[in-house]
């Protein structure tokens, strides 16, 4: 009995529909911003998402 074969490797991976929708929404949001606003968003991202740090630091 032959082992099942993997799909052709040259097929590029595809995004899911929800991932596409998410990217489209994000792109629309970014298009509303100026270059300066996008740059400042990148530079402030660490502080804006600092709450994502899951580890409670010991005293």
């Amino acid at each position: 009995m032959e082992e099942p074969t993997a799909p052709a490797s040259e097929d590029a991976p595809r995004r899911s529909a929800s991932a596409n929708a998410s990217l489209a929404a994000e792109m629309e949001r970014l298009r509303q911003m100026t270059i300066e606003e996008r740059i400042k968003a990148a530079l402030s991202m660490r502080d804006r998402f600092a709450w994502l740090d899951p580890a409670a630091k010991p005293e």
């Binding site: 270059i35 300066e36 740059i39 990148a42 530079l43």
Partner: protein, 183 residues
């Protein structure tokens, strides 16, 4: 905590100081990616230049004289970069990255073809997309490749023929493999 406005102002001041020494700059790295709709975390502003080590030493002295904290990292023979100056202060970090003697053509071409600035009236010009892709290919590694895929997926109108021609001109390989990810 980084103050993005203070960081941008510091980068503009640095660009003015370098300009006084006839060293033009172009914004590269994650800040350029953000300008082109790929906003990911970054904590510094990278400025690409072509300046030899002697010029970098002069620039470091000039920046120190203006009150910046400055560290010059000179390249060794194997270094893919031609030297880096870290310019820091309460505003955060600005990195001056020289490609002199390593990959000067991409900076020269970017300086000649740059059309966008980070904001009206700013000295900070943005590296064009084809040159940004070329620099990422030159950097290599998974993160740089992921940056290219994300950059191009967010800029479908960018002329891929022009990007491909630029990479071929600089003899950089690997673009076609990444373009397959976008199909």
């Amino acid at each position: 905590m980084i103050d993005p406005e203070a960081n941008l102002k510091a980068a503009e001041t640095v660009a003015r100081i370098l300009g006084r020494h006839q060293v033009p700059v172009v914004v590269i790295g994650a800040v350029a990616l953000a300008a082109y709709h790929y906003v990911r975390q970054t904590e510094d502003i990278d400025l690409g230049v072509n300046a030899d080590v002697g010029t970098l030493r002069i620039l470091a002295t000039a920046l120190q004289a203006e009150g910046f904290d400055v560290e010059l990292r000179e390249p060794d023979a194997q270094d893919p970069l031609g030297g880096v100056i870290d310019v820091s202060g309460p505003f955060g970090l600005v990195q001056i990255i020289s490609f002199a003697g390593r990959f000067p053509a991409v900076i020269n071409d970017a300086l000649r073809e740059a059309e966008l600035v980070v904001r009206p009236g700013s000295e900070l010009r943005l590296i064009p997309i084809p040159h940004l892709v070329a620099l990422k290919l030159y950097a290599g590694g998974y993160k740089a490749k992921a940056d290219i895929v994300e950059l191009l997926s967010r800029n479908p109108e960018a002329d891929r023929t022009v990007i491909r021609e630029a990479c071929e001109r600089y003899r950089l390989r690997g673009l076609d493999e990444l373009l397959k990810e976008l199909t």
